[in-house]
Assembly symmetry: D2
């Protein structure tokens, strides 16, 4: 028993190490993060980012539950986790929406633009890995997503400072961080208890890496959309120019 | 507000009245129920019935969650209910399996037969109404299923008596009855809070009627399988002859 | 090779024999068929039957294609059959609609009622067996459906005679019968070429039996709806009273 | 009528212009294409590329058919196109497999590696846009995929020359190019006949752009895998070192 646990701990350590490397690379290369730390942005960047966050978050409960719907032969405890986690994720996109609206956007004065292509690709991938393949592999997404705060909070806090946002305008990140502490432990426990084979861990690792890469790309996609908007190019986000100056 | 509630109460009353009529008809016509009350059965009928119950119950959490996976525009509270309820239903088929095995069946000495056609039709229908059409309509299934005990417990108790079963050999019915009391209230609340239109109530009523009819048919299917077994016809349940005499 | 073929032929013969018995039973018991042969019906029965036929037929191309979408490991020839057959089935529901409208119904004066519960159960089952389980098993549905004419044409011709319908008011049955001759041969060939195991044949046989039973039930459901209409009970088909007298 | 046609022609011209720009950018930046034209590659690059091509191609018939399975309200002609096209695409992955095996790989001496992450993202996206959103939008993928040869054949021919491949070792590209000429016309016709609104054309354009970008990324992913292999890093393609030297 001890040996199994320590094998699992070893695998988790490998995941952690890989995340460390990936995040370091992402944060270093990200034009979004550079712009934030350089203070070269305004509320419109935050708005675009939060709308895109709203979009993919709206699917997270659903693709999480999908694992349980199709994973016919999994242990009841894992299935329960899938449904319980889906239940807890439900409606979190409304926090993102609350935060972006708190910038002063007037409801009913615009339609939320369709997700950017990069965001849609992330959404597509999350349904795919939830609906097919190794039923444990979506844990690879949860594994980094529930532990994201250490990596992203510096940039979020910098945005908060520059834009003068109150904590209650960052509910998505701040409340979420609280909720996710417990989730992170549960995800860890699921990995420890249910990953049995090298294939399980490889599938988890692969989804961890790919979903994090696609998320990083989504963030850059938001930055590209911001740049297009600032250059005055046609944009589904043009309404932000009028409402957020 | 009061008026809305009383409209909902009226609709619920209509559902209750309809259930009363349907159950009365089902219990009166059912050859299964007649055989039970006449004492003309043995443990093999209980076994077949519990195996079939095992089959459809194994899908209930999944089709319940499916509603939340696909019901894109529903209120978060209803989505949460779907996932929470799915979580609570997970693994209940194991209670049915426990009960049937407690008759003295030897594990690993047989494979559980595929569901009977009538059971598969019920399963198919529950996925269909969960995955398509009015997203509220699966509540019509829950509405009668969570309130089934008043109607079926007399026959279950009679089976218990005739077969000399202890309460812990009827966990599916006895534990379930406890759990389902709360569920029944939640389902009622969901109907009251989320059914807004005549179409909503009609969709719920229709699923209530159809899923109850298909369940009644499944029970008769189990009885038909029992009769075939007793007549010595080829049967996937032949192993019961050897093990339950 | 010869031996394999003759085994397949034996299995097909078993299916044919079973169909013979089932159809004989269905035609004998059917209140719909009895009413037709007794001449105790009018155009409204034909109309209800054709609307229900319209409903399930609209899904046939889709559930046929679904087999190919999900049957990952099947032979390309079988997959091609699934898609080709889906292509050929597309739009056949419009023949049913054409025929019922030819009775003199005024377009835009009514909405086509939702399928009756019995029809919806059939639709649900066909998606289920197409989307799950043995990928060959939908052939069991095609096997009887493409060979239905010998069994049902006497009743159809009697309806035609009593209602004074021209052949071009029966396009669904008459054109279909032509098209389906070739389909029937293809289905036979698919069964011969792709069913390899006892499990394959059993799965096909089971779907053949169950889908035929559900179709028989759908036909009785149409007759029940006709009787309710004639008794003046509330009915989604009430508009037929006004338009077909 | 003429005006509609010319509007459609205008939109198609916009798609063509956009493709021209995108391809020019892709071919210029692609490290894969640069390596090919520089002659700095060997059979292992071709092999990796063809295995990845095998992977995504195996899903093309399926995601094409999925459009018809779920696009409930589309015109029968478009549905027929979906199923017919799926039928014609079935098994094309076997051409890719034939070509790669013709390099001298020994069957049964290896398992085909799982798709690279970039390939899996492409597959995921194609199912997503086929199964959700505007039912016409998958035509945006077909639009460039059926017209790909003008852009990619120079690199393919260069590979052929450097590796000394016969035409019958390039069946995927050469036979496909023939088949796809007709498909390209059909796709064009579908767009002309079924795109009615600005939203339709936007959805098509967006899928065209995104699926082409993801394909370009897949090709670079194949090149990255080749580089890792050449650097002697751990690789699922390590067997190529042994068999293709």
């Amino acid at each position: 028993m001890e040996k199994t646990l320590s094998l699992a701990e070893e695998r988790l350590k490998e995941l952690d190490d890989r995340l460390e490397v990936m995040w370091s690379d992402i944060l270093e290369r990200s034009r979004f993060v550079q712009a934030v730390h350089g203070g070269e942005f305004d509320a419109k960047l935050f708005a675009i980012y939060m709308f895109e966050t709203y979009h993919y978050t709206a699917h997270n409960a659903r693709n999480q539950a999908l694992v349980g719907v199709r994973a016919l032969d999994q242990a009841p405890k894992y299935l329960k986790f899938c449904f319980h986690h889906a239940c807890e994720e439900t409606g979190h996109e409304l926090m993102a929406l609350h935060d972006v609206m708190s910038l002063g956007l007037r409801e009913d004065s615009f339609e939320i633009p369709a997700p950017l292509p990069e965001t849609e690709v992330l959404i597509a991938y999350l349904y795919w890995i939830s609906g097919t393949g190794n039923p444990l592999r979506r844990l690879g997404y949860s594994y980094w997503a529930e532990n994201v705060y250490a990596y992203v909070m510096p940039a979020i806090r910098k945005m908060q400072e520059v834009l003068g946002l109150a904590d209650n305008q960052l509910t998505f990140f701040i409340s979420h961080a609280e909720i996710d502490k417990e989730h992170a432990l549960e995800v860890r426990q699921m990995l420890e208890n249910h990953c049995r084979t090298r294939e399980d861990w490889d599938a988890v690792r692969r989804v961890m890496e790919t979903s994090l890469s696609l998320t990083a790309r989504m963030i850059e996609g938001a930055y590209d959309a911001y740049e297009r908007l600032m250059r005055g190019e046609p944009s589904p986000y043009a309404f932000l120019n009028e409402q957020l100056g």
